[in-house]
């Protein structure tokens, strides 16, 4: 992960490799929490990461988790006790 220090009012600009429109992220205020502003091209979805990851995990949970795998996991845990 790239880490950059910025002061209140400063921005960073992310330019996509494929020549897409740039995304600007501006530090609006810094108190207990950081308030950021995002200028992104129309159609670009912006998510809070915890929600994005939760959706991703929910989808794989529904798709991947099987009763068969669960039984094998439970059996392994029992034998490991």
């Amino acid at each position: 992960m790239l880490v950059i220090s910025r002061k209140q009012g400063d921005s960073v600009i992310i330019e996509p490799e494929n020549g897409g429109e740039p995304i600007e992220i501006k530090i609006i205020s810094i108190d207990n929490q950081v308030k950021i502003g995002i200028d992104a091209p129309h159609g670009c979805k912006i998510w809070r990461d915890e929600l994005y990851k939760t959706i991703e995990i929910n989808r794989s949970a529904a798709e991947i988790s099987s009763a068969e795998a669960l039984r094998s996991l439970v059996a392994k845990n029992k034998s490991g006790d």
Partner: protein
């Protein structure tokens, strides 16, 4: 009523046992009604959250209290509006792949059930909890 389930075939459930999600399982907003199913062989700390509206949709959930970690979540404000008054049950959605060593549970966004109102919600906690808490500490299988 009789419902079709993914892992238990057709079963009969009392209508009153259905939980309605006032805040959905994120990513599955079109499905609001679920039942909680147990498998006696598996034990009490694991349940199935089976959609009533879509028989192929179900989640396997674990009791976070049984995991090898400190977990005492604080609900964000507004949760009582979603769930109604009462004592809530908390379950963590599990991802259990064929290679069970890679199994995880999501402790950041548990499912809360209120057995008295039969309201439910998936709630993203404010605390610093892992979305992928490993069920096995790797390497000891």
């Amino acid at each position: 009523m009789i419902i079709s389930t993914r892992d238990f075939g057709e079963i009969e459930i009392p209508k009153e046992s259905i939980y309605r999600f006032s805040q959905p399982i994120f990513g599955f907003e079109e499905y609001t009604d679920y039942v909680v199913l147990h498998d006696e062989e598996i034990g009490d700390d694991i349940v199935w959250l089976q959609s009533v509206q879509n028989s192929s949709l179900c989640f396997i959930m674990m009791d976070p209290g049984g995991l090898n970690t400190e977990f005492s979540p604080e609900l964000p404000s507004g949760s009582e509006e979603l769930l109604g008054e009462g004592v809530y049950l908390c379950w963590a959605i599990a991802v259990i792949p064929q290679n069970t060593k890679d199994s995880t549970v999501n402790l950041k966004s548990p499912v809360f059930l209120n057995p008295s109102s039969h309201l439910a919600a998936q709630i993203i906690l404010e605390g610093d909890y892992p979305v992928r808490f490993p069920l096995m500490d790797g390497g000891n299988s």
